[in-house]
């Protein structure tokens, strides 16, 4: 299972709009497991990259600490002491990561954990590959680094969810146009070489107005999926709105 299966294509987004904060406190173990899935989907890459860069951990240590962190979230009931009125969930989790790393005796920890602890299937190789593409962050900029990686992670989950939904609805062309127009340099990994609407119309044998409509559809759905996911991984409605403004409005603020 690669990371695309975590929360994204698995269809495990709760149908209700309970935030993870409520879900992890649920008596229902299935509900708690789904909440953890959401948290892992949204946060595991930022957490892993943060541990690598902020704490200078090796890949192996960072993998162990990342696994340990998400296991503890549930086992140690870390989220029970979270108060949405006092901090954003994102900030709280990063502080918890700092605490975990500072207090952890890695060798002892690995011995203690043994083989019974649940493991999340995370694509650490992909995360390591991403790390090599990132600009090095100064220690003083770690807060911004974590926020930036969190945004990247949220959008990645939303893109994969959109891909799956479009495929299920027979709208793969919509997604493909969205991918070529809005995500192109994720494929080309170079300067912006986005095609024009006319190029896309020719490529798919459709009218330019169809390109406009397909793109509008995909973007509308992308926005909806992103906000749905964001609502679930934030601690309160107030925090959700602040995070949404920060996530979407940061393009030009």
């Amino acid at each position: 299972m690669d990371d695309t299966q975590i929360g994204g294509t698995s269809g495990k987004f709760p149908v209700t709009r309970w935030s993870v904060i409520l879900a992890v406190r649920s008596q229902d173990s299935a509900e708690r497991a789904r909440a953890l899935d959401l948290l892992v989907a949204g946060y595991w890459k930022p957490v892993y990259k943060y541990i690598r860069l902020r704490w200078g951990k090796s890949g192996e240590d960072a993998k162990d600490l990342t696994q340990e962190f998400f296991t503890r979230l549930i086992e140690k009931k870390i989220l029970e002491s979270y108060d949405p009125a006092r901090a954003r969930l994102r900030t709280y989790l990063r502080t918890c990561v700092d605490g975990l790393v500072m207090n952890q005796d890695r060798a002892e920890h690995r011995l203690k954990r043994g083989g019974d602890a649940p493991h999340h299937s995370l694509d650490f190789a992909a995360a390591d590959g991403e790390l090599t593409r990132l600009e090095p962050a100064a220690p003083a900029e770690m807060d911004q680094f974590f926020e930036k990686e969190w945004a990247r992670s949220v959008f990645s989950v939303a893109v994969e969810k959109l891909r799956a939904e479009c495929a299920a609805r027979g709208k793969s062309t919509h997604f493909r146009i969205f991918e070529l127009y809005d995500l192109l340099d994720t494929l080309a990994d170079g300067p912006d070489r986005r095609p024009s609407y006319e190029d896309l119309a020719r490529q798919f044998g459709i009218a330019v107005t169809d390109v406009t409509n397909f793109l509008a559809y995909a973007r509308r759905e992308f926005r909806r999926i992103t906000l749905d996911f964001l609502r679930q991984i934030t601690g309160s409605e107030e925090e959700f709105r602040r995070e949404a403004q920060a996530l979407l409005g940061a393009a030009r603020e």
């Binding site: 690669d2 994969e160 406009t212 926005r223």
Partner: protein, 332 residues
């Protein structure tokens, strides 16, 4: 999962924020900025072939509360037809479910940038009087702005002054005294929204009256806007570029400082009772007569008399000096 580059993340931010204008008469051009609970975009109105500014709710709104507030703002703008208040053209709901309204696109500068380049004091005061006219008009229609600040004042290329962003305006009464038209009734539940809503602090530090800062909504009236007008006047008097200061060379006249102090009195009772009264004091200053905020005494009267009749006084003085010299010479 595909790697999202920084460039792709930025495009996705914009894609998710941009309004879905499909099915409307508008074509998106660019993002202009954020105002209150909405984001403002520049768009082409394809039907009338003109540019408009679209203010679009920037968040999902399951409860409908934010949509009601944005529509209420649109409704207030529609009722406040005045040359100093930005006119609204259209309002509705987009395909993505977000509420929007279209208004005149004003090209120009925000107040602070405009003021910095204005050389003469009378020019600054004329800009201030135009702001007073718009705010006083709104007050006469029972509407308080509650967030007057330089960012919400636009000065166009032809000197037109427009008060923007009525998103947190408060409606004091339902009916206009003159037209009898109903203001805000369709959106009554959201009319007098709480002092803070969804993280939006109502007002801006430096321009917000003490009663607003306390959240004392029961005691907010037009004197709260008077307080903000005092802060705007202070900005107009002090926000000058070094070049302008060098060419002007004068400081703020004490009479105008007194106007600012009176407008910004900590207690509403100490302020001007209305923006009209405040504007009248500024007019008195321009006319060289006594101000309510700066009452006359003998020295001020003499000073103003000298200011007003400088030439005549100099001529009389020259005459008297000449006479005295002639008398002295004649005695020798």
């Amino acid at each position: 999962m595909s790697w999202l580059s920084d460039g792709a993340v930025q495009r996705l931010r914009r894609a998710a924020e941009a309004p879905d204008l499909s099915g409307t008469r508008y074509r998106l051009l660019e993002r202009l900025g954020r105002g209150g609970m909405g984001v403002v975009f520049l768009a082409d109105d394809l039907t009338l072939d003109r540019r408009v500014a679209l203010k679009v709710l920037d968040l999902p709104d399951d409860s409908g509360e934010l949509s009601a507030r944005l529509l209420r703002e649109a409704h207030i703008l529609a009722r406040l037809e005045h040359p100093g208040i930005v006119p609204i053209h259209d309002a509705g709901t987009l395909a993505d479910g977000r509420v929007f309204y279209a208004m005149k696109y004003v090209e120009g500068n925000r107040l602070e940038a405009h003021a910095a380049a204005l050389a003469s004091l009378p020019d600054r005061l004329r800009v201030f009087q135009k702001i007073c006219d718009a705010v006083a008009f709104a007050h006469s229609r029972g509407v308080l702005h509650r967030d007057l600040k330089p960012d919400n004042i636009m000065v166009g290329h032809f000197g037109e002054v427009l008060v923007l962003d009525w998103g947190v305006a408060k409606i004091l009464r339902d009916r206009s005294p003159e037209s009898g038209s109903v203001i805000g009734t369709p959106f009554a539940p959201a009319e007098n929204a709480p002092i803070t809503a969804h993280g939006t602090v109502l007002g801006t530090p430096g321009y917000m009256s003490p009663e607003q800062a306390r959240g004392d909504s029961a005691h907010i009236d037009q004197r709260s806007d008077v307080y903000a007008m005092g802060a705007l006047l202070r900005l107009l008097l002090t926000s000058r570029s070094p070049e302008v200061v060098a060419s002007d060379g004068t400081g703020t006249p004490p009479a105008l400082s007194a106007v600012c102090f009176k407008a910004m009195a900590p207690e509403p009772a100490g302020r001007y009772a209305s923006v009209v009264e405040m504007a009248a004091d500024v007019t008195r200053f321009l006319q060289g007569v006594a101000l309510v905020a700066y009452p006359d005494n003998l020295f001020r009267k003499a000073g103003r008399f000298l200011d007003r009749h400088k030439t005549a006084v100099l001529l009389v003085l020259a005459y008297l000096v000449t006479r005295v010299l002639l008398i002295i010479l004649a005695r020798r």
